[in-house]
């Protein structure tokens, strides 16, 4: 029964046939999408099982620390597959995002062995890694005895994968040869434009092409459409204000947060002429067309306003725009996506990225079993499940982006998303200099930005003060 279909799916899973050919072939064999799906799931479990002893750690237990997030929900929805596959029992603690990283810091700093693996962002590993709280995963990834043959580490988007690897030297290049793989990327966010089509049509404007254009488009939108503001941007006194749109545009002008000297010393680089020019424009953008209470804006307010039709566009995470285009949001179905290059001379967008990743606790009592979970959760099977059945955007595996079902899903409901992704994926990576004072630098940067927007300090002077203060802190910490 279904032997031909099984052969075809098997070929696909072995990587001999791509998804398009698979679907075409199955169609020719008269399979419906539904029955193909069932068969596919059955086969993929078998394929995972082939050539690799998934049951090696059967009977063991793992505990995860998770953030309340759609990615975690997608994993939990599929978790039974892992339990069936390996016989490992998995329990988890989910904490609200607001307090999640506090919980992680508290658990890890006390050396608690309660959690074996946990969700993290790449920036956080710049603290966790040197602190000795997490494990370099290269050893496991490169060991064929421990990693299943279908894992396909090469399938990960290089910029994203490398952004999770750091050699631990302050200022060291991400993804260098001696880098340690502190975490495995799970899903990531590129910072680009999500905009309200109706409002853009009404005001008769197109997608902004560079930062000057953005300033005038946002202003026109705000003027022409009553009761809304031009552009949603984060502004709270936090690192989270710096890393989305702001830094993506900044990096597009080839500006850096810190400079690394030949002997590895760090110094602030925000007070260059180019940086000052960009800051002036960004501050103008916020003052003219940003939310009125910008300085309290976090991810949540930026998203809420876009979803409720209070703002015409955002320069923020693509998946924030993705979430706002569904659910009970008033503007659901009216949003579109576009890549954005702030620098008129740049050829493409260079978004800074946030990467939700999985890390292994150094205090885990059974690292081999934990790696079983990590390779499954970041493996191709779960990635496909998450991307097609749940809201696992943006996927970190290239094969998923080639997947027709996934592309169709995006093209149908999220216009422009695929083009946006294709246009900026090549330039997408973390644009910060990895170093342990990341949060000190970015928090103070955000505070300075707030002062400049409130006109408490002129841009030039503010940046000089910021650079001076950061240089002092770097010296104090022995990095400058």
């Amino acid at each position: 029964m279904h032997e031909k279909e099984k052969d075809l799916i098997g070929a696909f899973l072995r990587g001999q046939v791509d998804r398009r050919a698979l679907l075409k072939g199955l169609g020719a064999l008269g399979m419906t999408a539904g029955s193909a799906g069932t068969l596919f799931n059955m086969m993929s479990t078998q394929a995972l099982a082939a050539d690799f002893d998934w049951k090696a750690h059967s009977g063991k237990s793992l505990k995860l620390l998770l953030n309340k997030h759609p990615y975690a929900d997608a994993m939990i929805a599929n978790l039974q597959t892992f339990k069936d596959l390996t016989g490992i029992n998995v329990t988890y603690d989910v904490f609200p995002e607001d307090v999640y990283f506090d919980k992680v810091t508290a658990a890890l700093s006390s050396g608690s062995s309660e959690y074996d693996a946990f969700m993290t962002g790449a920036y956080m590993t710049w603290t966790y890694g040197p602190a000795g709280w997490i494990t370099d995963l290269k050893e496991w990834i490169n060991d064929p005895a421990k990693t299943n043959p279908n894992y396909a580490w090469d399938d990960f988007l290089p910029g994203v994968k490398n952004s999770c690897a750091w050699n631990g030297r302050p200022g060291g290049e991400l993804g260098s040869d001696d880098a340690k793989q502190w975490c495995i990327p799970w899903a990531f966010e590129q910072n680009n434009i999500t905009y309200n089509r109706e409002m853009f049509d009404k005001a008769g404007v197109g997608v902004p092409k560079n930062i000057d254009d953005m300033i005038s488009v946002a202003a026109k939108l705000q003027k022409d459409i009553s009761g809304i503001y031009g552009i949603g941007l984060r502004g709270s006194r936090s690192w989270a204000t710096i890393h989305p749109g702001f830094l993506s545009g900044y990096a597009n002008f080839n500006e850096k947060d810190l400079a690394v000297s030949a002997d590895g010393k760090l110094s602030a680089a925000m007070n260059t002429a180019g940086s000052k020019a960009y800051h002036s424009k960004f501050v103008q953008l916020i003052q003219e067309s940003g939310p009125k209470d910008w300085s309290t804006y976090t991810w949540y307010q930026v998203g809420t306003d876009l979803g409720a039709g209070a703002s015409a566009m955002i320069f923020d995470a693509d998946c924030l725009g993705y979430f706002m285009n569904g659910g009970d949001n008033k503007m659901a179905g009216k949003l579109s996506y576009a890549a954005f290059a702030a620098n008129p001379e740049a050829t493409a967008s260079t978004p800074n990225i946030w990467i939700w990743s999985l890390a292994m606790s150094n205090f885990s009592k059974d690292k081999d079993a934990t790696w079983y979970f990590l390779q499954w959760a970041s493996g191709p099977e779960h990635a496909l499940f998450g991307a097609t059945k749940m809201d696992f955007v943006d996927p970190v595996r290239q094969s998923i982006w080639k997947d027709e079902v996934f592309r169709n899903k995006l093209n149908t409901s999220y216009p422009g998303f695929v083009e946006m992704f294709d246009a900026s994926a090549a330039g997408a990576s973390i644009k910060f200099t990895p170093q342990p004072l990341f949060f000190d630098v970015t928090t103070e940067w955000a505070a300075t930005l707030q002062k400049m927007v409130a006109k408490e300090v002129p841009v030039d002077e503010g940046l000089d003060q910021l650079a001076e203060s950061i240089n002092r802190q770097l010296k104090e910490a022995g990095l400058g």
Partner: protein, 285 residues
């Protein structure tokens, strides 16, 4: 005071109305929000015209929350249960330890009594953040992390000083004569304490207990840092509605309403004691 003139009554009425408006309006607004979806809460300008829905309460009670990103499991009722248990147990322990101590400070001037009393109070002003992180490590070693016992112990830092100092004032204000008379009649110290002193101080104890309960109820940093997800109180639980696919204001409002309910019921029940009982340090002429 009885001879209030009409203009004064009007002025008092206006003042009271303003006070009630200021303090109750946000409560009223939160209450209204708890019957709305995000779509009607997030209107420009805000408006009160909406079709009330019970979906927020249903989501909280059944533990299923539907958002932009699908259905989420939420453990709100479990959080509520944890809050009730943690606060009640902590206040009970605090009363058990604090009331006798308060009695001792009030009735006996003994060597070091003021020092001990002040030290106990001083536990209240160590910033939680200061002790919390070393504490996680010690808890780890002692096996107290992620236990209710550990949490109830830490909660004593919030409850005990408050109870001690309020009840102490109350004991000091009750004349000791009745107790002496009772003891002379041949009753033990303990019988006197139980039959005379405690009932007389009842309102004070009830009021101090209620305030301590409120403060314990509102805490969230202790449980967050020291316990796993299954032992979190409502204060942490309600933050689960701040999701990356949007803040569920309706559910947060409903969560607030549900989390006020037990304390409010307790306060209304103990109404009589509450106000009378807080007359700490009364100087009876």
């Amino acid at each position: 005071m009885e001879s209030t003139s009409t203009p004064e009554r009007i002025l008092r009425g206006i003042a009271l109305t303003l006070v009630i408006l200021f303090f109750m309006f946000p409560i009223f607004w939160i209450f209204m929000m708890s019957f709305q979806t995000n779509e009607t809460i997030l209107q420009i300008p805000p408006s009160l015209s909406f079709t009330p829905t019970l979906s927020n309460y249903m989501a909280l009670i059944t533990g299923k929350l539907t958002t932009a990103a699908g259905t989420l499991d939420i453990a709100f009722m479990g959080n509520l249960g944890n809050s009730v248990f943690l606060s009640t147990a902590s206040v009970a322990v605090s009363l058990l330890l604090g009331v006798p101590a308060a009695y001792a400070f009030a009735r006996h001037k003994f060597r070091g009594s003021e020092d001990i009393a002040f030290t106990l109070l001083s536990f209240r002003f160590a910033p939680p953040l200061l002790v919390l992180l070393p504490l996680t490590q010690y808890f780890q070693w002692l096996g107290l992390s992620d236990t209710y016992i550990g949490l109830i112990w830490v909660y004593q830092l919030i409850c005990l000083p408050l109870i001690l100092w309020i009840v102490r004032g109350y004991f000091e204000d009750i004349s000791a004569d009745v107790e002496y008379a009772y003891r002379i009649a041949g009753h033990s110290w303990f019988a006197t304490f139980r039959k005379i002193a405690l009932p007389l101080a009842g309102p004070g104890i009830a009021a101090a207990g209620l305030l301590a309960f409120i403060f314990a109820w509102n805490n969230f940093v202790f449980a967050l840092v020291l316990a796993s997800a299954s032992k979190q109180p409502v204060t942490v639980g309600a933050l689960a509605f701040v999701t990356s696919s949007g803040i569920q204001y309706g559910q947060i409002a409903a969560a607030i309403v549900l989390s006020i309910a037990p304390t409010l019921a307790l306060a209304l029940y103990a109404q009589r004691y509450l106000v009378e009982g807080l007359s700490l340090g009364a100087v009876k002429g």
